[in-house]
Symmetry: C2
Subunit: 192 residues, 2 copies
Amino acid sequence: MKLFLPAQTILLPFPVLIIGTYCSDGKPNIMNAAWGGIASSKPPCISVSLREATLTYHNIKQTEAFTVNIPSEKHFKEADFVGMVSGREYDKFNETRLTPLKSKLVNAPIVKEFPYALECKLIKLVDLGLHTMFIGEIVGMAADSEVLNLNQFPDIEKVRPILWGSYGSMAYYNIGDKLGNAFSAGNELQQR
Amino acid sequence: MKLFLPAQTILLPFPVLIIGTYCSDGKPNIMNAAWGGIASSKPPCISVSLREATLTYHNIKQTEAFTVNIPSEKHFKEADFVGMVSGREYDKFNETRLTPLKSKLVNAPIVKEFPYALECKLIKLVDLGLHTMFIGEIVGMAADSEVLNLNQFPDIEKVRPILWGSYGSMAYYNIGDKLGNAFSAGNELQQR
């Protein structure tokens, strides 16, 4: 039975995006964000929505740079931790024993232990209310050679990213089985 | 070994978002988009990035409305098909034997067979180059009662959504195992 219900902000699955920034005193910080996505291919852009209450919001406004790090399933506890506490009270790299690497292209830290990161320069802010969209141009990617396929694209089966189930389950998941090939599986419908 | 590579537009995992719109002649249409995300909680907003070449781009500009339908893994072939062909050449609901239901809140169709859909009113356009972000206020949700938990949130374990692996694998996946609870698993790090 189809129910018609009030608005909800659940888009399944959510990715787990670890946003890297520098604080005004130079300390590297990371936070966990689920609300973001690729926004354009030319120029390559990404958007992440943040509340003004977060330290990351102010860091990006100041540095005009951030990284979007994709954690692997083996780091789900670290990813959860950096979403639970504020960088105003904790040195999150220290607490999680993760290592900040300075990006060569933007003024933001990369998480060394995570499989890959997109390096972003802030190009636009869109205020929507409680959240502001930070739109960054992706200027480079730092990736572990072991997670890339032959064309140097990150391979989801090697990255083993984390999914967040949002309010319906309040849990993290890993990826499951391959269902079929994109731009191919649909052909079966076209030919019947 | 960490490699520093050119920019890429890969954010793993990508969701599979099926965007529902009405054409100027009233025909319902659906397309497959991966580039979108929740953009704000108050007001509840979502963004989807589209190229001007798509029919959906023009439909939303005209109707100022769209739905974001989340398919279940059992419909991955239908989801793939509606991303392979244009609504200018195909009646995609007919071809896939999916059923359009008119939203009561916005001028856009809902896919009856998919577990849930967010009903959206266009509130802002952000031109970024090849893609334009369509930001919609989420005004309601249509969901199958069977996929909701006790608080009426869509439960990822019941929705069984599709993941897209992007260019690294060009394949669809389902969700895997539960890794742990959010806002909880990270406590172990905090107490050591």
